[in-house]
Subunit: 87 residues, 2 copies
């Protein structure tokens, strides 16, 4: 399935979370990731996320779609994902 | 249609952008909005956004889906949208 993951996480934990998410998804903007992922891998990602975040203050939202084609993506301004290979 | 809008915008322009987006969509996380919107209203929102952002550095990504039911949303950690009426 295709997912969009967005997080809002305390500064101290952002680095860990970024590193984790990039193992599973493509980074497309500051705290936004997207990509094809299996339900098993998503479960794994979320289980690992829960070890990083502070559930009282941090937040992760995942939008899941069975097919990527059901979502149309439009980017305005700077395209960030070109940095993906540099960082 | 149903849209998810995420932005990554310079600090000086964030306040304006937040205010603008909240006129059209529901704020669900730091820089993330979602909601039902007509194509005409979305066009209007994007036209106004372009007057706020610095296209070289700022970025807005919009995911559009014809039907909200094609997207399944999962929240982990803190639910932010409860603050929506307070701010």
């Amino acid at each position: 399935m295709y997912v969009i993951l967005v997080y809002d996480i305390g500064e101290k934990r952002v680095g860990k979370m970024l590193k984790l998410c990039r193992q599973y998804l493509n980074w497309i903007q500051n705290s936004v990731f997207e990509g094809e992922i299996t339900p098993v891998k998503l479960k794994e990602l979320l289980a690992k996320s829960k070890l990083i975040i502070e559930p009282e203050t941090d937040s992760i939202i995942i939008f899941k779609s069975r097919e990527q084609k059901w979502l149309d993506k439009q980017v305005i301004g700077a395209e960030r994902n070109t940095l993906d290979t540099i960082l």
